[in-house]
């Protein structure tokens, strides 16, 4: 029976009647819950506001998630807004039908239809899909999607074409109202229940799109959306909560999309996948409940990385100076460019993605920005690890090892026994440090960092793994004075929490160690070679390419074990 169905799917008649038969318009076949937007008119207004104020790139990511929620598998999402055979998104729906979507932003007028869109739609309909998982000449259902509406004249022309020229593969249209229903139906799986939650959502939604998101607020909100502390939920509910978390994050990052703040988008989406990882790791959720959603988020991260790379290669330096204060603050901005792009390149390499070695090209961001690394705290130092791993792989060059000595030298010079203790611990983010630098903190920093370091052990172990005895010997006496700090969450899933703050949702132990004053080199090397895989969350072993961005965004989770694992997976 199944095979017969598959065979029938290929036939033209089915393509024609399928939308009628299955009422395929996504808004008409919501699987999860009845839509009752009257339950939360504020939420509906917020989502409508969001939908009215974005272009097609802004809703492509949540639209894919909405399709996943309806049982689609995503085969392809167009990268970098490149027009590919007229198809922005290609999916297979839950019945196995191939679907191709072209996404547009705003109202479709007769003028825009005639001048641009009609020609693209003809390609959407006429050109067969070329994709490894699609059979040659397999038919597809075509969709035009817009977050606006269709002018009556356009609608009439589409009706006429569907009855005539396009009758074998009629065009289906999804407009703003239907999109709103789609997004509402997923959003209602989590409706901010109390006013505090709703206030947090609105704060995040209306936040300044030019800065980083408030991590604490965002993480606490997503924690609630994912219901991480509810242990009696069914897997299907977990799946819907993941969808809701992605939808809400889409609304929240729209302010960053508007300002093309790619770094903040990557940062926020990394926080999101980390919380999804926490959920998967804690409840051992099988892949089929989250894989499609994860792929969509990851694709969005990589796409934002590509856009960032293109921007900075074009005129990044110019764009990093936009006010009189950028003589001082511009370098912090440029440091972020290097950190995020190198982490993404490393992820792309681990995931064997195209474009991982774009630094081989003559004009690349690294050449532009390599002198722009600003050490402002241990949270800023992950870029050196990325640089080391990436260039070790790209050029297999011994000189990249020098970077490790530079970091060690910096820690000893500034936080060692003769230093001033000015390198902040990774618990202080870039915003706090800039505020501190210009005396703008609301409260003084009530600790000092002399003789302390969270990342020194990672550096020492890496140097031991790369046989850098001579360099380590030079520094060993000073190293013995530095307290090596780390925080060990009680359970692996807690690594993904922004902070392990209480006994129910996360806890752990702060640990301070000193190296042996007289240390055997052999013993040091042997220990440096060991990786405790039990302490690496399973999800990061399954998706190791997420590790560089996770450690970049969660610098307080950097420890020697993670760094050694990163070394292993990039070797």
């Amino acid at each position: 029976m199944k095979n017969l169905w598959k065979e029938k799917v290929k036939e033209n008649w089915l393509i024609k009647i399928y939308p009628l038969f299955s009422k395929i318009l996504p808004s008409q076949k919501m699987p999860n819950k009845q839509i009752d937007s009257s339950q939360n008119p504020f939420l509906k207004t917020t989502i409508k506001h969001w939908l009215d104020n974005i272009n097609e790139l802004g809703y492509q990511f949540p639209f894919c998630q909405a399709l996943i929620s309806e049982g689609h598998s995503i085969l392809h999402i167009s990268k970098h807004n490149a027009f590919e055979q007229g198809k922005d998104v290609i999916t297979r729906d839950k019945h196995g039908m191939l679907c191709a979507y072209q996404l547009k932003g705003g109202n479709i007028t007769m003028n825009s239809w005639n001048s641009v869109i009609k020609a693209e739609i003809e390609k959407l309909i006429d050109l067969t899909i070329i994709h490894p998982s699609v059979k040659h000449n397999e038919r597809h259902i075509s969709y035009l999607v817009t977050n606006g509406y269709l002018e009556d004249t356009v609608r009439l022309e589409i009706d006429n074409l569907n009855k005539g020229k396009w009758q074998n593969n009629p065009l289906n249209v999804i407009t703003g109202g239907q999109l709103l229903k789609m997004f509402m139906s997923i959003s209602t799986d989590f409706i901010p229940q109390d006013i505090k939650n709703y206030q947090v959502f609105l704060d995040l939604y209306f936040s300044n799109g030019k800065e980083f998101i408030d991590e604490k607020k965002f993480c606490s909100f997503i924690y609630d959306v994912l219901k991480i502390n509810k242990d009696a939920l069914k897997k299907e509910e977990r799946k819907r909560n993941i969808s809701a978390s992605i939808l809400y994050t889409s609304y929240i990052i729209s302010s960053f999309k508007k300002t093309e703040n790619h770094i903040a988008i990557i940062h926020c989406l990394t926080l999101l996948i980390s919380y999804i990882f926490a959920l998967i790791e804690r409840y051992n959720i099988p892949k089929k409940y989250w894989e499609e959603s994860f792929k969509v988020v990851w694709q969005e991260i990589i796409q934002s990385g590509l856009l960032l790379e293109e921007e900075v290669v074009t005129d990044g330096k110019k764009r990093s100076v936009t006010s009189i204060w950028d003589g001082q603050i511009g370098i912090f901005r440029r440091h972020q460019i290097m950190s995020y792009l190198l982490a993404i390149k490393l992820s792309q390499f681990i995931n064997k993605e195209d474009n991982w070695d774009s630094l081989k090209s003559e004009k690349n961001f690294y050449n532009e920005f390599k002198g722009e690394i600003k050490v402002w705290g241990e949270a800023s130092m992950f870029v050196f690890f990325c640089d080391f791993f990436y260039h070790k792989k790209l050029y297999n060059n011994e000189t990249v090892k020098n970077g490790l000595s530079v970091v060690l030298d910096g820690i000893i010079k500034y936080n060692g026994r003769n230093g001033q203790g000015v390198i902040f611990s990774p618990y202080y983010d870039i915003t706090s440090v800039i505020r501190y630098t210009y005396n703008l903190l609301e409260e003084p920093v009530r600790e000092n960092f002399k003789n302390r370091s969270f990342i020194i052990k990672s550096i020492i172990d890496l140097m031991a793994r790369y046989d850098m005895r001579e360099s380590l010997e030079k520094y060993w006496r000073e190293i013995t004075y530095i307290h090596q700090e780390t925080f060990l969450p009680n359970e692996n899933w807690m690594n993904f929490l922004w902070r392990c703050e209480n006994e129910f949702d996360g806890d752990g132990q702060a640990k301070t160690e000193l190296v042996k004053q007289t240390q055997s080199w052999k013993e040091l090397v042997d220990e440096a070679k060991l990786i405790d895989k039990k302490k690496i969350p399973k999800i990061l072993q399954e998706l190791p390419f997420a590790l560089p961005l996770f450690l970049l965004v969660y610098p307080h989770r950097i420890n020697s074990n993670f760094i050694k694992y990163l070394d292993e997976i990039t070797s």
Binding site: C500, D507, Q517
Partner: protein, 201 residues
């Protein structure tokens, strides 16, 4: 409810908290001279000693408080609040310094690093104490010892000052010679200790 100015009150409260911390710091000269760390997450902590021993950090809550009647509260001025805060700071600082010394005494007793006979404070007792602690030298330079700070009670401090005033030039000279002799020995010990901070096969 009657209209309120919560944001301003919160800002005032924050300023008061900062003031309290600063007043406590002023009143805890010993603790303020020690590097402090903040534990940003988790509830347990351990540290490792020079001798590789791992020990738990036991956090102790320090608290103080005050109460006002509605009548008093309705007439409180900013000066009254600051004055009360200074009293709280005094109380908390006392608890903290006493607690810290108590812990140190307990640890010293445990390892037996006390001056035999528990003599009262005198130049000889000071030198004896010096003999019993590690002394480091800045830049490995014999002329730059990092001498320990001596903490005494206010009453004892007066006595020390009196003793010092009574001491003759010869007494002082003799004390200095003895101190230098001890520091020579301490320098040797220091260099030997530092020589052990290395990588071996």
């Amino acid at each position: 409810m009657i209209i309120d100015f919560i944001t301003i009150k919160n800002e005032l409260q924050n300023s008061l908290n900062i003031l309290l911390r600063s007043e406590v710091q002023k009143r805890t000269p010993f603790l303020s001279s020690i590097d402090s760390h903040i534990q940003h997450e988790g509830r347990k902590a351990t540290y490792q000693t020079d001798t590789q021993e791992i020990k738990d950090i036991i956090y102790k809550a320090v608290s103080s408080g005050f109460s006002y009647t509605w009548e008093e509260m309705s007439k409180l001025t900013l000066e009254d609040i600051i004055k009360k805060m200074e009293e709280v700071a005094e109380d908390m600082a006392g608890q903290m310094e006493r607690g810290a010394f108590k812990n140190i005494f307990e640890e010293i007793e445990k390892v037996g690093n006390t001056i035999p006979g528990n003599p009262s404070f005198s130049p000889d007792a000071l030198l004896k104490g010096l003999e019993m602690v590690h002394i480091d030298f800045t830049d490995d330079d014999r002329t730059k010892p990092r001498l320990p700070t001596v903490y005494v009670s206010p009453a004892q401090a007066e006595k020390v000052k009196e003793e010092e005033a009574k001491a003759t030039l010869a007494d002082k000279q003799q004390f200095k010679e003895k101190e230098e002799k001890i520091l020579d020995k301490k320098y040797e010990e220091f260099m030997e200790r530092e020589g052990k901070r290395k990588l071996v096969d």
